[in-house]
Amino acid sequence: MLADRDGGLVVRHGEAVAKAHDPVTDPAGHRARLAVARHPRLAGILLPPLPLPVRELHERPVTAWPYGLPVDPGDPDSAPWEEAAALLARLHSTPPGELPGPLPPMRGPAKAVRAIARMRASAGEHPAAAADAVERAWAGLPAWTRGEAPPPRRDVLCHGDLHLGQLVRHPAPAGPWLLIDIDDLGLGDPAWDLARPAAWYAAGLLAPEVWQRFLGAYTAAHGPAVDRDGDPWARLDIPARALTVQSAALALARAAAERRAPDEVDEAVIDACDRIACLPPEL
């Protein structure tokens, strides 16, 4: 077993990996996402699925994928930040009109909503000031980031859940890097895909030079999420606030599940929520 999180289960057998998706996966959206991953336009960007005779097992969608070598969690410094940025720039530059559809919305905001729900489900087990900071930051976010209104941009193909666990080398161990996990893929604001590293940087967790390498590689590859010559934070600010709130909410939920106090890293994103909560609310 490689992973069991967020309702999805991933198992490896030799050179193949099978994934049982979240039982609440929207079937039409799931089929469109899978067709995109298989589409020649995404070759070299998204890992394509393997053909599979069954589509469902015990009422859960199942998919099969070739095995790819993930980023070494013990060596984050060796992470392929530039490659990740270039892959995102190419993904975001793929015209949705040339792809199978209709493509569902990118699920980033839906995941933020789910993170807040998880934190609230364990209310009473968190330090009160920390949960309060997360709630206040969340309340000041614009409606679209809370999944309550359509996003301002719906014209760009987005990954929806970028982190370092979403990159593999295929063929393993030395093939090119590719993006994996299509569960949150869809149309939306491409700044969301840059916003998690942006949030880590803003929280003081990611070194400025690493952030600059990532952002520089994205703009060098003509990624459309930020203005090349303008202030990148004009586009990144709101999604990065949303991902800061999401990270802090999940950090509190995980700390409660592990029956421990929030650690130093958890505190960094909670402190960032506190500073976000001091800002005037966004409409």
Partner: protein
């Protein structure tokens, strides 16, 4: 002095001869009378570059922070002149951060 917005303590910084107060909580900045004009003057000197008669108060290029950050960024990113980029509150090889890098 306390921040009028979030009531956290404000700290005084001297930027090229201009005193500014920055809130340690929300990173908001308070300017005294005339300080905005002084900053605008410094900025135009910076833009014009004025090589022969550069006044001693003209900011040096390295005085600008390397990477822009949002208003709510961690204090390390506040662009404090005289601070240094290596001064992170959290080490990036921290095991906990490694866990966060790889999760949703």
């Amino acid at each position: 002095m306390q921040c009028p917005k979030c009531h956290a303590p404000m700290h005084t910084y001297n930027r090229n001869g201009v005193q500014i107060e920055q809130c340690s909580g929300c990173r908001g900045i308070f300017l005294d009378y005339g300080e905005l004009e002084a900053l605008t003057r410094l900025e135009s000197q910076w833009t014009q570059q004025a090589p022969p008669a550069a006044p001693p108060a003209a900011p040096a290029p390295q005085a600008y922070p390397a990477a822009p950050a949002p208003a709510w960024g961690a204090p390390q990113h506040g662009g404090h002149h005289g601070g240094h980029q290596g001064g992170h509150g959290h080490h990036r090889n921290n095991r906990g951060f490694g866990r966060m890098l790889f999760s949703s």
